[in-house]
Subunit: 236 residues, 2 copies
Amino acid sequence: MKATKTKVAAVPERKRGSGVKFVYDLLRNEILDLVLAPGSPIDEVQLAERFQMSRTPIREALVRLAGEGLIDTLPNRSTMVANLDFLNMAPFFDALTLMYRVTTQLAAQNRRPEDLEAIRARQAEFAAAVKAQDALAMIATNAAFHAAIADAGRNPYFNNLFSRLLDEGRRFLRLYYQSYDDRLPQQFVDEHETMIAAIVARDTASAERLGKAHAEQIVQQIQKLMIGEERLDIAL
Amino acid sequence: MKATKTKVAAVPERKRGSGVKFVYDLLRNEILDLVLAPGSPIDEVQLAERFQMSRTPIREALVRLAGEGLIDTLPNRSTMVANLDFLNMAPFFDALTLMYRVTTQLAAQNRRPEDLEAIRARQAEFAAAVKAQDALAMIATNAAFHAAIADAGRNPYFNNLFSRLLDEGRRFLRLYYQSYDDRLPQQFVDEHETMIAAIVARDTASAERLGKAHAEQIVQQIQKLMIGEERLDIAL
DNA sequence: TGCGCAATTCTTGTCGACAAAGAATATGCA
DNA sequence: TGCATATTCTTTGTCGACAAGAATTGCGCA
């Protein structure tokens, strides 16, 4: 676990407000990619020496992460990566599906030319990840693709909720591909293309329908994973 | 602004983790009740001496509030109460309406006996506030009433978004009643009763419809306020 | 040997102080 | 007098240290 310090001596220069953001972004990604396992403890002091800064900026980053529900804090005791709640998946799926529908519809309604560029760029990245069979990249780029669609919808309230749901979904999917090393089907790429077409055409009804269908696809994917996991885990 | 210290000498005892929560709750309420005006600056040092604690817990409370979008932080410069965005109300109304619909419907679907108790208690508080023509209490209890309904729906993702929207709505309504000293109509009490009946009857379709209608009522209220405000404010 | 209590350790919460970045103010020159 | 620059001031960001709770260890006793 200990990193060699001999080569990493070049980190004395650091801009004033950058420490918090750096730690926040890094921890966040490590949590979402399951590099940090759910439930694993987080030690402020350890992080402080790892990043060569005091505990103050570390704590601020942790407070922010706690605000997003990515870590749980036991007062006066420990702080740890938030667990995935496998028991209450239905609310998650409900919310995810609704946000897929709403954001896609709003994107068809409010999109601007620059939005389409961004969406197409994300779709290209996703397609590349699928082609390369890079599961991690698929997960991240898929989330980015739908976040770009949500941005085009221009509703910050929906965007905020949707981002969180996509993040949570990243963790579930990461768990999936960590276990099975399967790959997202080409079907998703095609569905994405259809969604883009509806958004370009400003066809709100189709966009909403496609969003719903796409969401149900993903929900099915995750459910299939969970059933499989449960079957495998019952070993007495 | 300075408080007399002679009588407030009895504040040396404070439990370990309580400072942050105290400051957070208090600032939050002051912001939502417009005791702290949108755009007004927030001084850490001033708060520190006001609550007789160091800047550290103050800062943590501010970070949390910033995470909820209740305050804005200019890096290395100032931090201030978040402004109300009068220009982009449509997304707010869209989100609010959708959450009214969804949470009311889910409440009809998932409610338990204890939920009904809580909902009825809030409704009683709201009715009492209306009867007393206490505008501030109306605003708060109305939000609490709908939050209780959302709780009965048992979807933490929706609840979280809905809570934020209700908070933001509190600020708008507070602005309204601060200016006009009007009172929420008795009609709202009746509509609440109808909603409760639908939830009791597990009539999800009615619940959703009533939630939508109620939301549109409130949106109209706020819009009426804004038009009136604009007319009055044009004074050269 | 097993159990209850005290001491220790470990982690978090809080504090006071200092440094950096802007903003405001003062100074000097044309 | 007007403007550019230097200086001071204000506010935030970071640090190291200390204290309080909780968990763990060690000890004494039955």
